[in-house]
């Protein structure tokens, strides 16, 4: 199992480590629920170094990114980030990702850890643009600082103002090393992500410095367990659960990043066809008005009839109610049908709501 550069810090903080995408990653330190609330109420720090960083370099970098992603990367300027996805020809999703525009000739694509090999292979097989595709995932570490106090923490850490807008990035120095700091995250809170190259010593001293800067703000180390419940309260998709090669962006509710007006991109024709034919199912946010725990794979029912299946679910720590994303057959989405979660043979009434589940 691979270790991130921050392994020693996890051990020091008493993390419970689990295998994730080939890495020993902290699922929790003290408690998933306590860490979840720390991120909502003050600030939490995550090691997400398992994520992949791929650099696209060359004169035709933009053309390549436009070709392989569904969003319109021509809208980006230096220092701007965009949420996007890569699709197969049939419209199925290869991965969802972040696109960072570093310059006209350089983009950084941030991809899911479990998809790194597959994604890089996909990029290489579609490189008709003469760009250099450089997978630097093993060299980069990534720390996410998330929560309402994150700006105070970051400003204290770097001793400078960070008036950065959402989905923008800049550069900051630590111990003389330049790092990318972006106002991004997977929690729905004010938050920053810090990308850096550097060995264990550098990584752990940065982690310690973040901790020191956040001490008075109530900072907690936060694991992947709460990262999942935090993203789900916002309704963000997780690759492998809510989206995969068998789902297209429109049924996943990612129409807002799928720019069908863009000249061409891989998967466009299939996605257009599926829109014309009408979507057979939609990823649907469901909430139970009771304290239940819908889980991945549970059925969504309409009376005795199966209406869909839960792809992500949890007992929301903030709402204390069961929440879920579920693929529901479109015929049940007309507002006339009463849906329920089938939780160990008990039907628990569920309502369709608008995202996010929590009020932000």
């Amino acid at each position: 199992m691979k270790q991130t550069t921050l392994y020693k810090s996890h051990q020091k903080h008493g993390a419970k480590l689990v295998e994730f995408a080939g890495f020993a990653m902290p699922i929790q330190y003290e408690s998933i629920i306590a860490e979840h609330k720390a991120v909502r109420n003050s600030v939490g720090i995550f090691d997400v170094s398992h994520m992949g960083e791929v650099f696209i370099r060359g004169e035709k970098a933009l053309d390549f990114v436009q070709h392989i992603t569904v969003n319109d990367a021509s809208k980006l300027f230096d220092g701007r980030v965009q949420y996007s996805a890569m699709c197969y020809e049939d419209g199925g999703i290869v991965d969802d990702l972040l696109v960072y525009k570093i310059s006209d000739t350089e983009y950084m694509l941030v991809i899911n850890a479990s998809n790194i090999d597959k994604d890089v292979e996909w990029m290489n097989s579609n490189n008709n643009f003469g760009v250099t595709i450089s997978n630097e995932s093993d060299e980069y570490s990534l720390i996410a600082v998330q929560g309402p106090e994150s700006r105070n923490l970051i400003e204290k850490l770097f001793m400078t103002g960070f008036p950065m807008e959402y989905y923008h990035f800049t550069y900051a120095e630590f111990q003389g090393r330049e790092m990318i700091v972006s106002r991004t995250g997977y929690t729905g809170e004010l938050g920053y992500e810090i990308y850096f190259k550097g060995n264990e010593d550098f990584a752990n001293s940065l982690w310690d410095a973040i901790f020191e800067a956040g001490k008075e703000l109530g900072v907690k180390p936060a694991g992947l367990g709460c990262r999942d419940s935090l993203r789900l309260e916002m309704g963000y998709c997780l690759y492998g659960n809510d989206i995969d090669a068998g789902t297209n962006p429109l049924e996943a509710g990612l129409g807002w990043i799928t720019k069908l007006g863009k000249e061409s991109f891989i998967g466009k024709d299939a996605i257009l066809r599926s829109r014309q034919q009408g979507l057979g199912r939609k990823l649907t946010p469901l909430i139970a008005d009771s304290r239940v725990f819908p889980r991945h794979g549970y059925d969504v029912m309409c009376g005795e009839e199966k209406a869909g299946v839960v792809t992500s679910g949890t007992l929301s720590p903030m709402l204390d109610k069961g929440i879920a994303l579920a693929y529901v057959d479109s015929k049940f989405l007309d507002g006339e049908h009463q849906l329920s979660f089938s939780i160990r043979n008990t039907a628990v009434p569920a309502r369709i709501v608008k995202l996010p589940f929590i009020q932000k």
């Binding site: 929790q28 408690s31 629920i33 304290r291």
Partner: protein, 126 residues
Amino acid sequence: MNTPENLLYTNDHEWILVEGNTGTIGITDFAQSQLGDIVFVDIDPSLSEVTSGGNFGTIEAVKTISELYSPCSGKVVAVNEALSSGAEVINSDPYGEGWLIKIELTNSDELKELLTPAAYKELTGE
């Protein structure tokens, strides 16, 4: 991990406190720590009898759902009703407030089959 000396244990990480003919049953500190945040305990409130090794309910944590098995056979005399609104007490006090059921033992010979504190510590690698 905390493994009190006055209890007996199972391979499935339950404990039993025997006082006279009454047994109080719960899950161990090791078990609660492995499960992480416990959110529900599901024990049928009309449960009247349990058998040695028999399933008597489920315990649900954020990460996973796990079955509960009784260390001994007996008549159920109490179910910890406080857990229905506050199962997290099992995380904070697995040997006290976090108890699950009390039974009247019907076959005390079964106690000989259970693990001593030393044997349980060995099982959990301590």
